[in-house]
């Protein structure tokens, strides 16, 4: 698409242009492809993602995503701290769904040391993971709608997320950086007040979701900007290692909660929504559907949550509660040993992955039997999903790039580790 330039109005500029380079004309400038640097400081790139785009007019000819602007070296840090010390760092991976990261990490460590948390703790983990999924999808949908012009939506979704953070506050004592799980259980019990907060929240969420759906699902501008944009085929999604909502929106019914049930997802009845279109609109609808499924899971969890312990009884692996450490000799000794020497898992390596709001979060832990992990690799879903971005952008307008990034929903804290 070529633009007509009104030369007479800008005669001065034209004159200087002509003086500096005699063989360069306006026609040359319009014929050529342009390279544009989008990000890292760009509001639509969800953090610090940088894209180098080659444009023909407004159409993307080639795109190269660049990561690393938020690289903090968590994998190196993990090798130099004990398994317990790393829990707070998992909050900082995908900071929209902190609880999910906490749960996935402790489950990976528990798989390595062969420990199982009590049933009540597992149910609490399920509750917080699903709350976290709702919160993360709320952020995803809100910012996504805002990126393509529906600014009201972000206020509504953040309002719902805010209430989830109040529940976190009650449970973990922090709204954002929760660090709520412990190896072998969770930090504190979920009391009746918190359970009622969750129940009340769910009761009012269903009408709120309908309201939000009414705002977006019939919004012609929103639909026109997403439909048929960034189509990801089933084969490509698998080849590029895409997981999570983006994979299911391309028609692959794969959810780790169903494929390899962890916690007690096998006792819960829920559907895995899938779409076959694989475009940006399908990815939006899929997230909206997943929120409804999470609500369903949460209602069942509230019903089925058993009474009992919230942390496993294994003094050599699990840190005792502080009141016991300060009053009993045995606990004090164990506390000293765990803090100073670590929990010393057996020699070996495990890979554990959990279904996170962004996709499949995996931890590959190599242990040499000491208190620190010899190696820890984080398979972050945002990073893996971003790989397909360049392919999706080609052939679309530059304004669609914003929609495509939003639909993949990367969080750079996780992508850059």
């Amino acid at each position: 698409m070529k633009r007509e330039i009104n030369i007479s109005s800008d005669e001065k500029l034209l004159k200087t242009l002509k003086e500096q380079s005699s063989d360069f004309t306006i026609e040359d400038a319009l014929e050529n492809e342009m390279i544009i640097n989008m990000g890292p400081q760009h509001p639509a790139t969800h953090g610090v993602l940088r894209m180098v785009l080659r444009l023909d007019g407004e159409t993307v000819v080639a795109a190269v995503p660049e990561c690393g602007y938020l690289h903090r070296g968590y994998e190196k840090m993990a090798e130099n701290m004990s398994f317990i010390e790393f829990i707070p760092h998992t909050d900082r991976l995908d900071y929209t769904g902190t609880m999910c990261n906490n749960v996935a990490y402790v489950l990976a460590v528990e798989k390595l040391i062969g420990l199982e948390a009590p049933k009540r703790a597992q149910y609490i983990r399920m509750i917080i993971a699903e709350l976290s999924r709702i919160a993360a999808h709320m952020v995803a949908i809100g910012t996504y709608a805002m990126d393509v012009g529906a600014v009201t939506m972000v206020m509504w979704t953040f309002r719902e997320r805010e209430k989830i953070q109040d529940i976190y506050d009650r449970l973990a004592g922090a709204r954002f950086t929760t660090s709520y799980t412990r190896i072998g259980g969770v930090a504190s019990d979920i009391d009746d007040v918190a359970l009622k907060m969750v129940k009340d929240y769910l009761d009012q969420l269903a009408p709120a979701l309908d309201e939000m759906g009414a705002l977006l699902n019939t919004n012609k501008i929103f639909l026109d900007r997403l439909e048929g944009i960034g189509v990801l085929s089933k084969e490509d999604a698998i080849a590029y290692g895409v997981t999570g909502p983006s994979l299911r929106a391309s028609g692959v019914e794969y959810d780790v909660r169903r494929a390899k049930p962890y916690l007690f997802y096998n006792e819960i009845d829920f559907n895995i929504p899938t779409y076959s279109e694989g475009d940006c609109l399908a990815r939006y609808h899929l997230r909206a559907d997943e929120v409804r499924e999470s609500v369903k899971i949460l209602y069942q969890c509230l019903q089925k949550i058993p009474a009992g312990e919230i942390i496993a009884n294994d003094p050599k692996k699990v840190i005792a509660h502080k009141t016991e450490v300060y009053s009993k000799m045995e606990e004090l000794i164990h506390d000293f040993m765990i803090i100073n020497q670590g929990i010393n898992p057996p020699v070996g390596d495990v890979f554990f992955s959990a279904e996170n709001p962004k996709g499949e979060l995996g931890f590959y832990i190599v242990s040499n039997g000491s208190g620190y992990p010899w190696k820890m690799k984080i398979r972050s879903p945002s990073f893996c999903n971003l790989q397909v971005l360049a392919k999706l952008c080609i052939g679309h307008m530059i304004s669609d790039v914003v929609a495509i990034i939003g639909s993949l929903d990367p969080v750079m804290g996780e992508a850059d580790k």
Binding site: C67, G68, H71, G73, E75, K76, M77, E79, N80, K111, L112, G114, I238, A239, Y240, G241, T243, V252, Y254, A259, K260, G348, D349, V350, F351, S353, E360, G362, Y364, V366, W374, K375, K377, R379, F383, C384, L386, Q387, D416, K417
Partner: protein, 162 residues
């Protein structure tokens, strides 16, 4: 299912397999590095196995061991719902290994990351550049001999005005 995988790999690549291990229900195959591409291709295309997704790739630095590095791939079969780990040992004197991008496209960024962090040279990789750290960075930070606090002056910082 695991027995079938073990049997199939043993049948075809008897000389290339060093060992199978099964720790905490994670099946893992240690291969000779020359064979990793052929085995990967076989695992992807075999009608019974169909390991069509590469979930993750990384390397391990064993610091003082004879074969200092191990490259690791985590692959997944949607058909059988099973994960498999491929490993191959590399000696420090020869850090070249065949890239698996031609088998699984997703390996492209994983291998770039491993190159960035460990300096493993993936032969036939289409675009082997650093992914997180700046191009001019000289070290490989996840190697065990790289200090936790970094090396002073190794990262060029923006110069101040005066």
């Amino acid at each position: 299912m695991k027995d079938l995988i073990i049997q199939k790999i043993k049948e075809r690549f008897a000389d290339s397999v060093i060992e199978f291990s099964d720790f905490r229900n994670d099946l893992s195959v240690l291969l000779k590095k020359e064979a990793i591409h052929d085995v990967a291709l076989f695992l992807r295309d075999d009608a019974d196995l169909k390991c069509d997704m590469c979930k993750d790739a990384t390397a391990i630095d064993w610091a003082r061991r004879k074969n200092r590095f191990t490259v690791v791939y985590h692959i997944y079969s949607f058909k059988n719902n099973i994960e498999l780990r491929l490993k191959a040992d590399l000696d420090e004197s020869d850090l070249n290994t065949v890239s698996l991008v031609s088998v699984w496209k997703s390996a492209e960024w994983y291998e770039r990351e491993t190159f960035d962090m460990y300096g493993i040279n993936y032969v036939n990789h289409p675009d082997l550049r650093r992914i997180y750290l700046p191009e001019e960075f000289e070290y490989y930070p996840l190697r065990k001999d790289f200090p936790l606090l970094g090396i002073p002056g190794s990262l060029p910082l923006p110069k101040s005005e005066n």
